[in-house]
C-alpha cells in the first residue's frame, strides 16, 4: 500500500460514485448536469491513464485495502478486503474506448437528457449513468476474479435500470425484463459458477496472476475440466457479447435506453465481453485451433444473422442495434481467425495471425466509434422530431445539416467505404482470412458479402432519415444544440482519423499484442510507414487508405471545381402530375424488398427457430411456473418444504 499510487487509478471511479450519488438528490435538470459533468471529467482521466499505458508503457497497479479491521478476526476464505486493480495494456485499450465514447456521450447527455425533464426523475438517470460508467471502468481494470464478479453484476444492474428508464413505456419494461432474464439470470449464473470453480481450484486465491498459473496447470493436468470451464465462460460471455443464438436481448434492450446510453451500451458495454474473450483465450488459457474454429464459426454466423436481420428493420435505433450484433460478429471472427492462424505453423501464417489479431482489436475500436456516433445521430433526430420510425421520417439533411454529415460519415465507416475507419479493419480481416487456404477463406467471403449488406442497410438508414422526402410535415425542426453537435463532430473526426492514419491504432494495439499475443509484437510483422501500414515480407505488404483517401478527394474535388455549377431549381418530375410532397415517396418498408425475398429461406428458418426455442419454451416455462405457484399456495406443501429445508440445515450443522 504505497501512498501516492493508492488513489491514482481509482480517482475516476471515486469521482463517478460521488457524482452519481450527489446527482440522485436532484429531481430536475441539476441532477443530469452534475452527473454529466462528473462523467465527462472522469472519462477524460480514464483516457489519460489509458494513453499513458499504451504510449509510455506504464503499468498502473494498486492494491487497496478496504477494511483492514475486518479481516484478521473473521478470516474469510477469500480475502475480500483487498481491491487489486491493475491497468495493463489490454485493459488500457478497452479503457480508451470507454474514455472516448464516455466523453462524447456524457457531453451529449448534457443537452439530450433534458428532453425527459418533468417526465422522469433526472437524478435517477444521473445516478445510474455515472454508476454504469464507474462499474464498466472497474470491470475493465479489476485484477481479481471475485471482485470482477461483483462489478460485472453491478454493471448489468445499472445498465438495466437505464434500459427501463422510460418506465411508462411497455416496450422499455419488456426489454429490460428480457435483458434481465437472459443476461443476468441466465448468463451470469454460468459465469459465476465457472469462476467460483476456478477460485476453488486456485486455492481461494483470486488475483488474475494466480488464477492464470492455476488454469495453466489445469490445462496440462486436466484438459477436459479446463475446456469445460472455458466453454462455460465462453457461453456466459457470449450472451453479453450478443453472439448468435444469444443475441435476442440486444435489439430490444439497446434502443429503449436514452440515445447516449445506447451509444455506451453498443459501443462499450458489449466490448467488455470482447475484453473477457481476449483475457480468456490469450491470458488465462492458450489459443488452440479447435477453439479458434469454434469462435470464428460463431462469429461468422453472428455477423450473417445480425446484419441480414438489420436490413429488415424500419426503426432507426433497432436497425443500429441489429448492426451491433453483426459487427460483434466481425470482431469475434477476427479473434477466432487469429487463434486458428496462430496454431498453424509457418512465417506466412504468423503474419496472417498477427493481422487478424490486430483486426479484431482495431474493429472493436472502430465499432465503438462509429456505432456510438450513429446512435448519437439517431438520438439527435429523436431529440428534434421525437420519432424513430424510418417510414415517416425524411428530408432532415436540409434542416439538420451537421447531423446529416456526421451520420453519413458514420454510415460510410460502418459500411467499410474507403477511406473511413471501418474499411481498414475489414480489409485486415479479409486479407488475413481469404488467403489462408482453410475454412476461414469462406468465412472471409461471407464477411465481404455481409459488408455489402451493411452498406445497403445504411443506404436505407441514411436516405430515409435525411434525404428522402418525409411522409409528414416536420414543423420547427432545426439543428440540435451545440453540445450535441460537438460530440457528433468529435466522433466523426475520430472515425476519419482512424481510417486515414491506421498507424495510430496499430501502435495502440502493439502493446496489447506484446502482453498477450504468443508471437509477440504485431508491429514486428506490421512494418509501419507514415500513413501506410506495411506488413512484413512480400506476402502481406501494403494498406494505403491514406493514398486512397487523398487521391479520391483530390480527383473528386478537381472534377467538381473544373466544372462550375449553374444551378436552377425545378420541381421533382412526376410524369406530368403536380408533385405531392408527402405522398410521393417510398417507405422504408419497401426498401430492398426483392433482395429480402431472395433470402426468404433464411428468414423462415429464423421464424421457425424463434417459435420452437423462444415462444414454445416460454409457454412451457410459464406453465411450469403456474404449477409451482399453485403448489406453493398450498399450505401443506409449503410446510413440508420448510420442514425439509430445516431438516437439511440441521443435518448440515450436525
Amino acid at each position: 500500500m504505497k501512498g501516492d499510487s493508492l488513489v491514482e487509478l481509482l480517482i475516476p471511479a471515486a469521482l463517478l460514485l460521488l457524482g452519481g450519488t450527489v446527482s440522485s438528490v436532484f429531481k430536475g435538470r441539476l441532477g443530469n448536469y452534475i452527473s454529466s459533468f462528473f462523467s465527462t471529467i472522469s472519462s477524460l482521466i480514464i483516457c489519460y491513464f489509458s494513453l499513458n499505458v499504451l504510449f509510455f508503457n506504464k503499468v498502473f497497479e494498486e492494491r487497496l485495502i478496504l477494511a483492514p479491521v475486518l479481516i484478521s478476526p473473521i478470516s474469510l476464505p477469500i480475502n475480500l478486503s483487498l481491491l487489486h486493480v491493475k491497468m495493463d495494456s489490454l485493459s488500457a485499450f478497452f479503457c480508451l474506448i470507454l474514455g472516448v465514447v464516455g466523453f462524447a456521450s456524457s457531453i451529449y447527455g448534457f443537452s439530450y437528457v433534458n428532453r425527459y425533464f418533468k417526465k422522469e426523475h433526472l437524478g435517477f438517470y444521473g445516478l445510474n449513468y455515472a454508476f454504469f460508467l464507474c462499474f464498466m471502468y472497474l470491470v475493465l481494470i479489476i485484477y481479481d476474479v471475485f471482485w470482477f464478479i461483483i462489478f460485472w453484476e453491478l454493471m448489468t444492474v445499472t445498465s438495466q435500470f437505464l434500459v427501463s428508464y422510460e418506465k411508462e413505456k411497455i416496450a422499455a419494461r419488456k426489454a429490460a425484463y428480457k435483458y434481465f432474464c437472459m443476461v443476468k439470470a441466465g448468463s451470469e449464473a454460468i459465469i459465476v459458477s465457472a469462476l467460483i470453480i476456478i477460485i476453488i481450484l486456485s486455492g481461494m486465491q483470486t488475483s488474475f496472476d494466480i488464477v492464470k498459473t492455476c488454469t495453466e496447470k489445469l490445462l496440462a493436468e486436466n484438459p477436459i475440466l479446463a475446456n469445460a470451464l472455458l466453454t462455460m465462460l465462453f457461453i456466459g460471455f457470449s450472451v453479453k457479447a450478443s453472439l448468435v443464438p444469444f443475441h435476442t436481448w440486444l435489439p430490444d434492450a439497446h434502443p429503449e435506453a436514452p440515445s447516449n446510453v445506447s451509444a455506451l451500451l453498443s459501443g462499450v458495454m458489449i466490448k467488455t465481453a470482447v475484453y473477457m474473450f481476449f483475457r480468456l483465450f490469450y491470458f488465462f488459457f492458450k489459443p488452440t485451433i479447435y477453439w479458434g474454429y469454434i469462435v470464428a464459426t460463431i462469429g461468422t454466423i453472428t455477423l450473417f444473422v445480425g446484419t441480414m436481420y438489420a436490413i429488415l428493420q424500419t426503426d432507426s435505433k433497432r436497425l443500429l442495434a441489429f448492426h451491433s450484433v453483426g459487427q460483434m460478429g466481425y470482431i469475434v471472427l477476427a479473434l477466432g481467425a487469429s487463434m486458428v492462424l496462430y496454431s498453424m505453423k509457418g512465417e506466412v501464417y504468423a503474419i496472417l495471425a498477427s493481422a487478424a489479431f490486430a483486426a479484431s482489436l482495431y474493429h472493436a475500436l472502430n465499432h465503438a466509434m462509429f456505432k456510438s456516433l450513429l446512435f448519437l445521430t439517431a438520438g439527435s433526430v429523436i431529440y428534434r422530431t421525437g420519432l424513430r420510425n424510418l417510414n415517416v421520417l425524411g428530408g432532415l439533411a436540409r434542416l439538420m445539416p451537421v447531423t446529416a454529415v456526421s451520420a453519413l460519415i458514420a454510415s460510410l465507416s460502418i459500411s467499410g467505404i474507403p477511406p473511413f475507419n471501418g474499411f481498414v479493419s475489414k480489409w485486415l480481416i479479409y486479407s488475413s482470412t481469404i488467403p489462408s487456404f482453410t475454412l476461414l477463406a469462406i468465412y472471409g467471403v461471407i464477411a465481404l458479402f455481409i459488408s455489402a449488406v451493411t452498406a445497403a442497410s445504411f443506404v436505407k438508414y441514411f436516405t430515409t432519415l435525411f434525404t428522402k422526402p418525409s411522409a409528414l410535415e416536420l414543423k420547427g425542426v432545426k439543428e440540435v444544440p451545440i453540445v450535441m453537435l460537438f460530440s457528433q463532430i468529435f466522433l466523426g473526426i475520430i472515425c476519419i482519423t482512424l481510417g486515414i492514419y491506421p498507424v495510430l491504432p496499430l501502435t495502440i494495439i502493439s502493446p496489447v499484442s506484446k502482453l498477450l499475443f504468443p508471437l509477440g509484437d504485431i508491429l514486428s510483422y506490421v512494418k509501419v510507414l507514415p500513413g501506410i501500414a506495411l506488413l512484413k515480407v512480400g506476402f502481406v505488404s501494403i494498406n494505403s487508405p491514406l493514398i486512397i483517401a487523398v487521391s479520391l478527394t483530390l480527383i473528386s474535388s478537381i472534377t467538381a471545381t473544373l466544372l462550375p455549377h449553374r444551378i436552377k431549381e425545378f420541381s421533382v418530375w412526376s410524369c406530368g402530375v403536380s408533385f405531392r410532397k408527402y405522398l410521393m415517396n417510398m417507405p422504408a418498408d419497401s426498401y430492398f424488398k426483392p433482395f429480402e425475398e431472395s433470402f426468404k429461406e433464411l428468414y423462415l428458418t429464423g421464424k421457425f427457430l424463434h417459435k420452437v426455442f423462444v415462444e414454445d419454451f416460454i409457454k412451457r416455462y410459464l406453465l411450469s411456473a403456474k404449477v409451482l405457484a399453485r403448489g406453493t399456495e398450498n399450505f401443506v406443501v409449503m410446510l413440508t418444504v420448510f420442514a425439509l429445508i430445516a431438516f437439511l440445515i440441521l443435518l448440515f450443522l450436525v
Binding site: P401, I434, I442, T463, K468, P469, F539, W573, S590
Partner: protein
Amino acid sequence: MFTQLLVLTNIVGLLLIAPIIDGIERKIKARLQCRKGPPILQTWYDLLKLFRRPSIVTKEYSLPYIISPYIVFANIIFALALLPSITGVALSFYGDIIVLTYLIASSSIFIAIGSISSGSVFATIGANREISIATLSKLLIALVLASFVILKGSLMLEKLFPIIPPYTISAILAIVLFAILAYIESYKLPFDIPEAEPEIIDGILVEYSGKSLGVLKYSMYLKRVLLFTILIDLVLPRNLPPIISSLAYIASLIFVSILFVTIETYFGRLRIDQALKFMKTLIPILLVVIVIAYFHI
C-alpha cells in the same frame, strides 16, 4: 515515378476510349436491329454537349445529390489505376483486389445515395434495384475472388493476372463466371433494371441533368470499361512487347464489347426478382468452383 506516369497514361487513355467503346456498341446494336446508327463518336458529342449545359436541380434535393456523381467518378478512376490496362503497369499493393471490389461497390452506393437525395420516387425505386443487384453481386464477386486467390495464392492483382495458364477446369469456369458477373454489373440488357427507361423513366438518372448527368454517364461508361478490363486481364498474357501488348488490349476491349452488345440485342429486360434469382443460381456453381480449385483440378 515512371510507374505513376504509365498509370496516368492508362487512365487518360481509357478516359478517351470509354465513350468511343460505347459508340461502337451503339453502332453495332443499330446494325443488328437493321438501323443505320449514329457515328462512332456520337457518345463523345453527347457528353460534350452535356458538359456545356447548366445543371438543373430539384426543389427537394440535399447535398449528396450534388456531390455523389463526382465521388462515383473518382471511385471509378481510382479503380482504373489499380488495373493494368493499356500499359501493363498498375498501382499494386497487397490486398488491392479487396480495394477494387470496395471501389466498385462504393460507386453503386454513392449513385444510390445521390439519386435518392434528389427526392424523386422513381430515382428511389431505381436506387433500390441498383443496391439489391449490387449487394448480391458482391457475394458473387467475393466468391469469384476467393476462387482466384485459391488458384493463385495471392491477394495481389499483379500476381493474380493472368489466371490462365494453367488451363485447369476451375480457372476456366471462374473466368466464365466472372464474365457473366461483369455482364450483370455493367447493367446491360436484360440486367439494366436500375435504369429501365420505359418503367421508371431512367430510374437513378431521372433527376440528373447537365454536368451531373454527364459525369454520371461518363462514369458508367468507365465502369463498363473497368469490368471489361478485369476480364481481359484475367486472360491476356502480358509478356509481349509493350506496343503489341497495348494493341492486343485495345483489340480485346473492342472484341469483348462487341460480344456483350451482341448478346444484349437478343434480350428483353428481366424483372428484378428474376434477375436476383438468376444470380442466386450462380452461388452453388461458384462454391463448386472454389472446391475444385482447392484440389487443383
